[in-house]
C-alpha cells in the first residue's frame, strides 16, 4: 500500500491525466471512423494533411458544447485540453506540496511558474485579441 503523500498524489495526477487524455483521443478517433464526419466537416476535409480545419476555426467553447452529440472532434479537443492541463495541474499541486513542507523559496518559484502558465494560456491570447473564427468553420463546413 503506497503512502498517500503529496508526491504520490502528484504522480497519480500526471499518470491519470495522460491516461484520461489518451482515452478521450481514442474515443474521438473511433467515433470519427464510425461517423465519417466531425463538426459538420467531411472525412476528407479533416484528414487532409493541408486541412484548413485547425484550432483557428474551432472555438473551444463550441467544440465542448458538441460533446453530448458525441462529436469526434469535440472528444479529441477535450483530450488535447486534458493533456495540456495535466502539467499545469501538476505545477498547482507543486505549490501546495511545497507550502505543506514550508519551503517558502520553492513556493515562490513554483508560484511564478504557475503565474507564467496562466499568463501564457489565458491572458496573453485575450490581450493579443486571438479568437477562433467560427464563421470560417461554417463556411468551410456548412451545417446540414
Amino acid at each position: 500500500m503506497p503512502r498517500w503523500d503529496m508526491d504520490y498524489i502528484i504522480g497519480l495526477t500526471l499518470r491519470y491525466g495522460v491516461i484520461i487524455s489518451i482515452a478521450l483521443i481514442l474515443i474521438g478517433i473511433v467515433l470519427f471512423h464510425v461517423k465519417g464526419e466531425a463538426l459538420g466537416c467531411s472525412e476528407n476535409l479533416v484528414m487532409s494533411p493541408t486541412s484548413p480545419i485547425n484550432t483557428t476555426v474551432i472555438p473551444p467553447g463550441y467544440a465542448l458544447s458538441r460533446l453530448p452529440y458525441l462529436d469526434p472532434l469535440s472528444f479529441i479537443i477535450l483530450g488535447l485540453m486534458v493533456l495540456i492541463a495535466t502539467p499545469v495541474l501538476r505545477v498547482a499541486l507543486g505549490v501546495a506540496s511545497f507550502a505543506m513542507e514550508r519551503d517558502w523559496l520553492y513556493v515562490l518559484i513554483t508560484t511564478v511558474v504557475f503565474i507564467n502558465l496562466m499568463l501564457a494560456i489565458f491572458i496573453l491570447p485575450s490581450i493579443m485579441h486571438l479568437h477562433a473564427n467560427y464563421q470560417l468553420l461554417r463556411i468551410l463546413c456548412p451545417q446540414r
Partner: protein, 260 residues
Amino acid sequence: MSLARVTLEEPPSVRGVGVNPWRQAGTHSRSWGWLMEKPSRRRRWEQTTASGETVSTKYPSRPPDWTTKVFKLYGSYYDEALKTEVKYWGVRWWLGELIMFFAGFISGLLGIGSGALKVLGMDWAMNLPMKVSTTTSNFMIGVTAATGSALYWYFGYIQPMMAAVTAIGVLIGAMSGTKILVRITNKQVRWVFLAILAFLGMEMLLKGLYMDHIITIPVATQYALSLIFTAIVMSLLYYRYGVLARKPNREGVVMGGGNA
C-alpha cells in the same frame, strides 16, 4: 606524455593526502571531456584520487556549491540497474539557468525538442546524473509545452486530427521508453543520447541547407545520409571509448567503467 602534462598543470606535491578529492576531481569537468573521458585522462584522475580519499563515482563530480545549498538541490533515486540508492546534487544553478534560457529560445525558434540542450545543461553544467537529467527534461517539456500551447492553439498550428494521432504515438513511445530507462545504466543512456544528437545534428544541417536551396537532396535521402553519418560516428566512438577503453591498461585497471 600525459604525465608531463600533469606536472605542468599541478605540482605533484599539491595532490597529496588531505587535499579535497572533489576539488581535484572537478578540475577536469571544465572541458567537454566529461562526455567520453579519454582513457589517459581517466587514469590521471584515478591516480589523483588514489592518493586522497576513495571516491565511488568514477566521473568527475563537483562539490556542492552555494547554489546547491540555497536551492537545496539534493536528491536521491533508486537505480534499478545498480540495485542501490543513488544520492546526487546539482551545482552551478546559474549556468544551468543560462543554458535553459537558450534551450527555451531555440525551442521556440526552431520547434526542435529542446530536450537535447536541456539534458546538456543538466548533465554537464549542473552535474546531475544522466537519468535524472533525461527524466527531468521530459517533465519540463510538459510545462514549457503547456506555456506555448495556448498561443499555438489560436495561431492555428494545431490540427486536431494530426495532434490526436501524434499524441497517441508519442505517449506510447514515452511510456515504453520510461520503462526501459529505469533498467539501463546512466552510461547506456548517454550512448543513446549521443546517437540521437549525432542524427539530429546531421539531419538538421541537411534540412537547413535544403531549405536554403544550397543542396537538392531528396528528404528521404537526407534521412538516410544522417543515419549513415550516425552509424559511422557511433561506431568510431564505440571503438575508441567502448572497446579500447575497456581493455585493461598496464596497471590492470579496467577503464571506461563510467558513472553507472
